[in-house]
């Protein structure tokens, strides 16, 4: 039954679990776009992160779970970051169209992970590995309904609570953040100030790759603990919608991700509920919501002015 406490706890806690990877990726995406670089390769970077995390955890079977999880997360981030450098080189240094570069990276990621998946796990197929540890915060977790939803979760969910706040602080209250925003809105000013637009954008894109890699690890090791080909299933694209909906603000984007996470979690439960609508419509829900969100968000908001445009000193 919907709206009984058990359902709400189950749905709420699944919403957070599904939203957490989106939140992590969205934080990175906000930084990249704020610096002026559109990164639709987040989808592929998440996929590579997910694969790397599961593969590392698989080969570290027997090692202490916390250490294995940490190593898996770090290597996933590095893999995502390395992929992001390809995007950065193409779009920043070579001035290639950012959508095309990102699209190529997504195809490459899908091909690579599918091919390597067979090489690592062979015909056996997916195998469960050690995941990220669950944390239960003593007293708080005992609060009815809210407790188990908020305070009995994977470490990833706690990271997704804290990081948007940190990211927003850095972006809006520090010089680093100012440089990143300026690189996206008025790069000539960054240039005039004696700073490098290129380096600032590289850093932001690299950061988005690291976060997307971590998001992939969170997706794979936070819940299912195995890898399936193409398992990101468009989540990286939904993140792009959340960024627009969240007006390029890490905290608002996180809220948008939570909304998408809740829709996703509901979709998974709708089949069992028999709500009179075919379940496929619930599967569509997060994607439709993203379109509506973007359509509705425009007009009230403004994208970084130089988003998608390579900076060339001569041109300004």
């Amino acid at each position: 039954m919907p709206f009984d406490p058990a359902f709400i706890v189950d749905w709420g806690s699944a919403s957070l679990r599904l939203a957490a990877p989106l939140v992590l990726a969205a934080i990175g995406g906000v930084y990249a776009e704020r610096s002026g670089v559109f990164n639709i390769g987040i989808e592929g970077m998440m996929l590579i992160g997910a694969f790397t995390a599961v593969a590392v955890s698989y080969y570290l079977a027997g090692v202490d779970i916390a250490i294995a999880a940490a190593l898996a997360a770090i290597t996933a981030m590095l893999a995502g970051g390395a992929t992001a450098l390809v995007h950065a080189y193409l779009s920043i240094t070579r001035g290639v169209d950012q959508i095309i570069s990102g699209a190529a990276i997504n195809i490459l990621a899908l091909g690579l992970t599918n091919t390597l998946y067979r090489a690592v796990w062979g015909e056996v197929g997916r195998e469960r590995v050690a995941g990220f540890p669950e944390v239960r915060i003593p007293v708080l977790a005992d609060i009815p309904i809210v407790g188990p939803i908020l305070f009995d979760q994977s470490v990833v969910v706690f990271a997704a609570f804290v990081l948007p706040i940190v990211a927003a602080f850095v972006l809006f209250r520090t010089t680093w953040g100012l440089n990143i925003r300026a690189a996206g809105d008025f790069p000539a000013a960054v240039d005039t100030a004696g700073l490098s637009v290129e380096k600032t954008r590289y850093a932001a894109v690299l950061f988005s790759g690291l976060m997307a890699g971590l998001a992939g690890a969170a997706l794979a090791l936070g819940a299912v603990r195995y890898f399936t080909p193409g398992m990101t299933a468009g989540r990286g694209f939904i993140v792009l919608g959340a960024i627009v909906f969240g007006r390029w603000n890490p905290m608002l984007a996180a809220v948008a991700c939570l909304l998408f996470g809740a829709a996703d979690a509901f979709q998974l439960r709708a089949q069992a509920l028999d709500l009179g609508l075919p379940y496929q419509f619930f599967v569509m829900l997060p994607y439709l919501l993203a379109v509506l969100a973007i359509a509705g968000a425009i007009g009230r908001t403004r994208a970084p002015q130089q988003l998608g445009i390579p900076y060339r000193r001569e041109a300004t």
Partner: protein
């Protein structure tokens, strides 16, 4: 040696040759890098590529398979290329393909008892309409509300796939075959089938539709007022605005055309090859269309060649998997690397300069993408 008659021919061929250098070198580089991956996976690249080549061009059957695989790629490639020329990123061809397939299947399933000469065009029109409808919302949002089409078209891909999944659901889908083990529709009416071109193969007339459209779009882009406005939009939107172009209408028209062509890809698959609407019948033809368009430099005639190449890769991949056990997804790696090398190519600037120098008419829009 220099027969004067050869000079004009040489002048015409040279720029084309220079333009072909970048794609060819990119393909070679992509195959070389993918060979390393094949070694890592534990197979012999020579054996793998050999099997792939036999599967793609070894005999009439293989050639037909290549053409069959190339057909949807040709259509989605044209859809994407058209949008690229106008500076629009329609990366929703996958969803438009599903929408086109769904609507065409709906018309093809009608027990209308029509002659094929009526039923086939009607079904194709439905396919075009379905794809165009799917592109309508992102197109309208982009044209009239300034909403980037990138994310909206992408999102609708997933919606389109789910829509077809619902339509052919064996339990409650309105078009689903009840009790079938796979989510699929009934077999379409024979009068809505596209004819087979070579008996004994599955090569169907969808290929001719694609080839005709390629020529048609080439003419449209190069020689018509609409094409001129469209190139202007892609090449120099500011100038287009100064010239008094109603940018908005052009954007919407391009999106609808692009979506419609992608819808035809879905219709051709249903009417020519599968004769049913299947759940998840496309292995990503819509996304492949991006690679096809890019490799072709968004030139509709060159799209024919690049679709053939990628179709051959797809056809060869199955043969490769059977004989070496390597995942067919190696094709995706080759495809992605080809795009990356095309857009990266240090050769690109050089080749474009040479092509421009050797042909008097510089086509400004060659650099649209």
């Amino acid at each position: 040696m220099r027969a004067p008659i050869l000079v004009p021919i040489r002048a015409a061929v040279r720029p084309i040759a220079y333009r072909a250098i970048v794609p060819l070198v990119s393909i070679a580089a992509a195959l070389a890098v993918s060979a390393v991956i094949i070694v890592i996976v534990g197979a012999s690249p020579l054996e793998a590529y050999g099997a792939m080549l036999r599967g793609a061009v070894g005999g009439i059957g293989s050639l037909a398979t290549t053409a069959v695989r190339a057909t949807p790629l040709l259509l989605t490639g044209l859809a994407v290329a058209l949008s690229f020329r106008a500076g629009i990123f329609n990366i929703g061809a996958e969803g438009q393909l599903y929408a086109g397939a769904a609507l065409s299947a709906a018309v093809a399933l009608l027990p209308l008892d029509l002659p094929a000469i009526v039923h086939v065009p009607l079904t194709l029109a439905a396919g075009f309409l379905g794809g165009a409808l799917w592109a309508l919302v992102p197109g309208w949002l982009r044209a009239y509300r300034g909403v980037s089409e990138v994310v909206t078209t992408l999102m609708l891909n997933f919606v389109g796939i789910q829509l077809v999944a619902y339509l052919v659901d064996p339990i409650d889908g309105p078009m689903g075959e009840r009790g079938a083990s796979y989510a699929q529709s009934q077999v379409i009416a024979e009068s809505a089938e596209l004819p087979i071109l070579i008996r004994g193969t599955s090569l169907h007339a969808g290929l001719l539709i694609g080839l005709g459209l390629a020529v048609g779009l080439f003419v449209l882009i190069k020689y018509t007022p609409l094409g001129f406005r469209l190139r202007m939009l892609g090449g120099n939107p500011v100038a287009a605005r100064f010239a008094g172009l109603s940018e908005k209408r052009e954007i919407l028209v391009v999106m609808l055309l692009s979506g419609g062509i992608a819808g035809l890809a879905g219709a051709a698959e249903v009417m020519g090859l599968r004769h049913r609407l299947y759940d998840r019948f496309s292995p990503g033809y819509g996304y492949d269309g991006i690679a096809v368009a890019l490799l072709a430099g968004s030139n509709p005639l060159a799209v024919i060649l690049s679709a053939t190449f990628f179709g051959g890769l797809r056809a060869g991949a199955n043969a490769m998997q059977q004989s070496t056990g390597i995942e067919t997804s190696v094709v995706l790696i080759i495809q992605a690397l080809t795009i990356l090398f095309v857009i990266l190519g240090p050769l690109r600037g050089w080749a474009r300069a040479r092509a421009a120098r050797s042909s008097e008419s510089v086509e400004a829009s060659a650099s649209a993408v």
